[in-house]
């Protein structure tokens, strides 16, 4: 059995469970993002565009690209948090999986592959809806799905590693309240970072969602002007997220191994 075969078994198990549970994820995966798009993009956007008519893209388009990355982060982070805590502490099914030829690392890799599939699906649906809103141009927006998936997966692997060190979900709630939500708001999702004092811009530069938002935006909107994005080259964003994914994956596999096989 190769690594990929074992990952496929995990994906198959997740898929069987998802057939039963997908309804519960509809609100967070599809409805909330579209609400954000409607409220911010259409509602607030009308106000923004009226006040400042010289933006290189409409505000709706600006927000739609930001939300692709930010929603990927939300989905990836959730996937690295609560199902992992359930596998270790609540339902403990990870302890059963490792009595088969599967190792803890196989669980981590399999869940990452599953995360890629699910993110690609969720983001495709969002992109299509945003396209129907007239927010995005399909031809370039579709190219921005892989970078958005990368953003989500970087969070999924890193937070899987974090969750594997935790005893209960209190710290997960704290993580979402004090890390994920601020990132969602202050990473350039809803406004260009140049609107913030320089000190806060620098904080944003070292955080992951900023790189996800910039990468998605620069690829989805090739004509976007320097008033709305930084001049940081694409490869820097890409490298940041790739390194975060790789480090997250290695740490998650190691920590989960020690946790499941003491």
């Amino acid at each position: 059995m190769t690594v990929l075969t074992r990952a496929r078994h995990t994906v198959e198990a997740e898929l069987i469970a998802y057939r039963r549970t997908w309804r519960g994820t509809v609100i967070s995966s599809f409805v909330n993002p579209v609400f954000f798009l409607a409220a911010m993009g259409l509602g607030l956007g009308a106000l923004v565009d009226r006040g400042q008519t010289n933006l290189s893209v409409p505000y709706l388009t600006f927000v739609a690209t930001g939300l692709m990355a930010a929603n990927a982060m939300q989905a990836g982070a959730s996937d690295g948090a609560f199902p992992v805590m359930a596998g270790i502490k609540w339902r403990k099914e990870f302890f059963a999986v490792i009595t088969t030829p599967m190792n803890p690392a196989d669980i981590v890799i399999g869940r990452m592959v599953w995360g890629v599939i699910r993110l690609a699906f969720v983001l495709s649906v969002f992109t299509v809806i945003a396209g129907l809103f007239g927010a995005l141009d399909f031809s370039t927006a579709l190219m921005a799905i892989p970078p958005a998936v990368l953003t989500g997966i970087a969070f999924q692997t890193a937070i899987t590693a974090f969750t594997a060190t935790q005893e209960d979900s209190t710290s997960l709630t704290t993580l979402f309240r004090f890390a994920i939500t601020p990132l969602f708001l202050f990473s350039g999702t809803f406004f260009p970072l140049t609107n913030l004092p320089e000190f806060f811009q620098w904080i944003a530069y070292v955080t992951p969602l900023f790189h996800g938002v910039e990468l998605v935006r620069k690829i989805a909107l090739p004509g976007i002007g320097g008033d709305l994005v930084t001049t940081i080259p694409l490869w820097v964003h890409f490298a940041y997220l790739t390194v975060m994914t790789a480090v997250g994956l290695i740490l998650a596999a190691r920590i989960l191994d020690r946790r499941l096989r003491p």
């Binding site: 078994h9 198959e12 198990a13 339902r91 099914e93 059963a96 009595t99 096989r261």
Partner: protein, 308 residues
């Protein structure tokens, strides 16, 4: 010569400064039901986890099917089934899906798994529950499903950690019956338990574990013969009278154990001992004569009871 499926020499497991398993030796032969009997915290589960290759050996030597758990974990796990102390079924899946997914983890072809699921649901008496959500099953049914799941890969060795803890008597007997069947099919069983009746019912051979060490080894009958007498008289006294009575019991039996609520007299002839009690004018409130059990063996070996 019976083949040894598991061999342990000086097997040790430590967690920080705590020694859970303290240099134990044992052999488990092909086709037998081997038990680890002992109180909670004796090191049984740690030993099971090392055999199932999900806990690294700290020191000593352990082989399973002649293989090294440290380097051949996957190959070993391919041939074993594990029933953990706590049910850890996937509650989001149905009964049949739980089995299917584990078959896939064992890399079995889908068609083979489907045939196997039919057999196993039959075996576990869950045939009419195939499409039920696991959450709705009773404790006994969940346990049987966990056992069925452990059998999906047709294992040569099944490891059961406290298989009937928390079940009502009827569910326990049904489970024991299923385990007998497995044994008859030639599957080697390793069972941990703190129930002496379970150990006596199921195990061909067992070790008594206490504080990480093996206190004794043998068949249930051998152990009783070696460490206890044929019969036991249990005496219960009126409130406050036990201490006085104990002073007058000297020489009445081969040995005695004083517990908080009763006194146990170990003797090969209970009638004789009872006559002697009367002769000394010792009149307990209640007298119970019974055969020796593994509980008595444990008491004799450690000075403590199995379940407190």
């Amino acid at each position: 010569m019976p083949e040894n499926l598991v061999e342990a020499r000086g097997l040790t497991k430590t967690f920080g400064s705590f020694t859970a398993v303290d240099a134990i030796d044992f052999d488990i032969r092909k086709g037998e039901a081997f038990g680890f009997l002992g109180p909670n915290g004796a090191g049984k589960t740690s030993t099971m986890r090392m055999i199932s290759t999900v806990s690294p050996v700290t020191d000593g030597k352990l082989t399973v099917f002649g293989m090294d758990p440290a380097t051949q974990g996957r190959e070993i796990r391919r041939r074993i089934g594990v029933v953990p102390q706590e049910d850890n079924l996937d509650l989001e899946l149905t009964v049949a899906e739980n089995l299917y997914v584990y078959g896939r983890y064992h890399d079995m072809p889908r068609a083979t798994i489907r045939e196997r699921i039919d057999e196993l649901l039959d075996f576990a008496q869950l045939g009419d529950r195939r499409k039920n959500q696991v959450e709705a099953l009773s404790g006994g049914m969940k346990r049987r499903l966990t056992i069925a799941r452990a059998l999906i890969n047709d294992p040569d060795l099944v490891i059961l950690d406290e298989p009937t803890t928390g079940l009502d008597p009827q569910a326990r007997h049904l489970l024991w019956d299923r385990l007998y069947r497995l044994k008859r099919q030639g599957v080697t069983l390793i069972i941990t338990t703190h129930y002496m009746d379970e150990a006596e019912q199921l195990c061909d051979r067992l070790v008594v574990m206490d504080q990480g060490k093996i206190a004794a080894e043998g068949s249930p009958a051998e152990l009783i013969r070696r460490y206890s007498t044929r019969e036991v008289i249990e005496l219960r006294f009126q409130e406050g009278e036990q201490d006085d009575a104990i002073l007058r019991l000297d020489g009445l039996a081969d040995s005695s154990e004083v517990l908080a609520d009763r006194v146990l007299l170990y003797t090969d002839d209970a009638d004789e001992t009872q006559r002697a009690l009367h002769a000394r004018d010792i009149n307990p409130e209640q007298v119970l004569v019974r055969r020796s059990t593994l509980e008595d063996v444990f008491l004799k070996l450690t000075g403590r009871r199995l379940i407190d």
